[in-house]
């Protein structure tokens, strides 16, 4: 009880901080310097229709690299954690699971390719439309999830997933480094021509990067899901 | 033999073990020797005069007669007039007054004290008991004849003799000293074995060195 009271008091304090933040907040009427720069220069410099994508992949590409790394890390660590657990439990006989229903099986057969396709679409078009590598990757992973739901015993190749993941990551970095050599700096997208705004093959290497990000994210999520499911299965 | 006088094996701080024989290691073993008088007769005469006029008594009351010595310090008798005074330590005393009967237990202490006095040293037997045992002639626990154990220079008879008798005794003692006849210390050294044999006859638990330096 006392603990709750203390927590409430503290939260009142934090709330007061938030409150004064809120009270001190005045929405901007026009874009600030940075945003204005992006709005005005993105099309011309980067060639990406989706300014957010341009920011994510190029202007703040280092952040994105970090993001990708976060996922990579998480996947690795989850693998590490769960691998340890599995080693201990590998002796135990595998649990028998009830069959998943026919509806699910049929549905997944039907949906999985569609979902994969959607995922690829989303990340390939990341520089044009809302969406991008992360969203696409997540969609890809959801296909894997569906497959796992259908057949929890299904075996995925860890090796494949990790190679995919690594290669995508390596390519991302390589492109970044190529930016230093052939363009203005690390992760500069202009090693390829920026093309014309709104085209699929435009915005330099953004689509390529985003694709690999998509693959990588998909692989990482999948890896986590697979690891979790295998652990659960044991 | 008492425990503390037995030989024992001791381990030194460095771990080295060795034997300790208390009687040898803690006590001087040399027997008493005869101390000659001064080479010059005249010097010895002067010395004897000085010795006689400065009699320092060992403050050790061995028996009931001790009570007769106290009045000597009082204004009534004032033995200090005669150069007599009491010393608390045998080292500094010249005269040992065996004051009355001497139990064998006390004898042991008396011998020790006597041997620790320096030559020349004198013994006065006070009271009949020191002469022949007196009324305790048949006691199992007192010695009968003091002279068998310590060389007595002078007896003062009586049971007990009064302080006046003691004063007279001192005067007598002075005469003996002046005459150069008070050589009890040397007598003791000469007949050391005889005295020891006598002493050991009555003292059965002889737990001390032969001679207490």
């Amino acid at each position: 009880m006392i603990k709750r009271l203390v927590v409430l008091l503290l939260l009142a304090g934090i709330g007061a901080i938030f409150m004064s933040l809120l009270l001190g907040y005045t929405p901007d009427n026009e874009l600030n310097l940075t945003a204005r720069y992006y709005a005005e220069h993105t099309a011309q410099d980067i060639g990406a229709a989706n300014i957010v994508t341009a920011i994510i992949v190029t202007y703040r590409g280092l952040d994105t690299l970090g993001e990708v790394t976060v996922l990579f890390l998480t996947a690795a660590i989850v693998g590490l954690v769960l691998a340890q657990g599995r080693q201990q439990n590998s002796q135990r006989s595998q649990r028998k699971l009830p069959e998943s229903g026919e509806l699910l099986q049929t549905g997944s057969l039907l949906l999985t390719p569609l979902i994969l396709l959607l995922g690829v679409y989303v990340f390939v078009n990341g520089h044009l439309t809302p969406g991008g590598g992360f969203q696409g990757g997540a969609i890809l992973a959801s296909a894997i999830l569906l497959m796992l739901l259908t057949d929890p015993m299904r075996h995925f190749s860890h090796r494949l997933i990790s190679v995919l993941e690594s290669i995508s990551g390596l390519i991302f970095i390589t492109i970044g480094v190529l930016g230093i050599i052939y363009a203005g700096g690390f992760l500069d997208n202009r090693i390829l021509p920026t093309g014309s705004l709104g085209q699929l093959f435009s915005a330099g290497v953004i689509p390529i990067i985003y694709s690999f990000i998509g693959l990588k994210v998909g692989a990482e999520f999948s890896s986590m899901l697979v690891n979790l499911s295998e652990t659960e299965g044991s | 033999m008492k425990e503390e006088l037995k030989k024992r094996v001791i381990k030194g701080p460095d771990g080295f073990e060795f034997e300790v024989d208390p009687l040898q290691d803690y006590y001087c073993e040399a027997p008493p020797t005869v101390q000659p008088a001064a080479y010059q007769k005249i010097v010895e005469k002067i010395f004897n005069w000085a010795r006689s006029e400065s009699i320092w008594i060992l403050g050790f009351g061995t028996g009931c007669g001790a009570i007769e010595m106290r009045p000597l310090m009082t204004p009534r008798f004032d033995a200090y007039r005669f150069g007599v005074q009491w010393r608390p330590t045998p080292r500094q005393a010249n005269l040992f007054i065996i004051s009355g009967y001497l139990s064998t237990k006390t004898l042991k202490r008396a011998i020790r004290s006597y041997e620790q006095m320096q030559n020349p040293k004198y013994v006065i037997g006070l009271g009949s008991c020191t002469i022949n045992g007196g009324m305790y002639w048949d006691s199992y626990n007192t010695i009968k004849r003091l002279d068998d154990y310590l060389p007595v220079d002078l007896y003062i008879a009586g049971c007990m003799p009064r302080p006046e008798a003691l004063l007279a005794g001192f005067e007598e003692m002075k005469k003996i000293i002046r005459a150069g006849k008070a050589e009890g210390g040397n007598l003791y050294a000469e007949n050391f074995d005889w005295y020891k044999a006598n002493q050991k006859k009555v003292i059965h638990d002889w737990d001390m060195p032969e001679h207490s330096w």
């Binding site: - | 008088a37 010395f47 000085a50 400065s54 403050g59 204004p75 200090y80 150069g83 330590t89 080292r91």
Partner: protein, 301 residues
């Protein structure tokens, strides 16, 4: 002041006079004490006889090196103390060996004999000797304090540490004595004097039966004779310092004899009237009664 060879015979003369005077004085004092007890006491020449007798003892023992040296230290201490202080004021003859050092030398040389004696007594291995030393040293440290304060006060008063100069400053009438010019210092010093004379109430060091006469319990024959000799020199030497510092010194031997006797009598007066203090009692007594006087003397000078 410079050394001259003639000082040696003069010093020996002083020594001779003081030994004889001391032998008689101590006997006299003992006799006075006896008279208080309505006794006759010892003959006045008894000390001489005792001394000769002790040298005449034929045998002696020794406990070792330091035991042997103890009385030597003791007597050297006494003789040295006497000779480091000018005995007769204004007399070149009897200023002795005071060229070697001033008052401070005398003050610290007091310990020389005490230390040697304590060491010798210690080597006798006798626990009573050690107990006596322990008591003696304990009491001495407390007793020395008021004296040191008084000496400091006097030195401050006359702005010199030279004994001769201090005596010189007291010349010209009784009222010039430190006794009257600086009474607190003198009182403090005299309290201290009581403590250093080994007389009641401060003689528990020598408790004759409890710890048979304390430190010298193992000493005898010629050792004892040396100590007896010291026993007559040392108090006189000490009183000479008191006399010079506080009572105007002495310009001639008769005055010297008189003053020494009178100062000595102070301790006799107290001694015959009071019972013994235990050591811790005497320490407290010195700190409570004598020390404040000394402090007063220092503050007021």
């Amino acid at each position: 002041m410079e050394f001259e060879w003639i000082k040696i015979p003069y010093s020996l003369l002083t020594l001779f006079i003081v030994i004889n005077f001391g032998l008689l004085l101590t006997a006299l004092i003992q006799k006075i004490g006896a008279r208080v007890g309505r006794r006759h006491g010892i003959p006045i020449y008894q000390n001489y006889i005792d001394l000769i007798k002790n040298y005449a003892i034929r045998s002696s023992i020794t406990h070792g090196f330091m035991f042997y040296l103890g009385p030597v230290f003791r007597l050297s201490g006494g003789v040295g103390l006497l000779l480091f202080v000018p005995t007769i004021y204004g007399s070149e003859m009897f200023s002795n060996l005071s060229f070697a050092g001033d008052l401070i030398l005398a003050l610290y040389f007091v310990f020389f004999g005490a230390l040697g004696m304590a060491l010798g007594a210690g080597e006798s291995g006798h626990p009573h000797a050690a107990i006596g030393v322990s008591r003696g040293l304990s009491q001495m440290t407390a007793a020395e304090l008021p004296f040191a304060l008084a000496v400091f006060s006097v030195a401050l008063q006359y702005q010199t540490l030279s004994v001769t100069d201090i005596v010189a400053a007291q010349q010209g009438g009784v009222l010039n004595w430190t006794l009257f010019t600086n009474p607190f210092a003198v009182t403090a010093a005299m309290f201290s004097f009581l403590g250093s004379m080994m007389r009641p109430p401060f003689d528990v060091v020598l408790a004759p039966q409890e710890i048979p006469i304390g430190p010298p319990t193992e000493y005898h024959s010629s050792y004892l004779a040396l100590m007896q000799t010291n026993r007559v020199i040392f108090p006189v030497a000490k009183i000479v310092i008191y006399m010079n510092l506080f009572f105007g010194g002495a310009a001639s031997w008769p005055v010297f004899f008189l003053k020494v006797f009178l100062i000595y009598m102070v301790s006799v007066f107290v001694g015959v009237a009071f019972p013994r203090f235990r050591v811790e009692q005497s320490i407290r007594w010195f700190l409570i009664w004598a020390m404040p006087l000394g402090i007063l003397a220092i503050v007021l000078v």
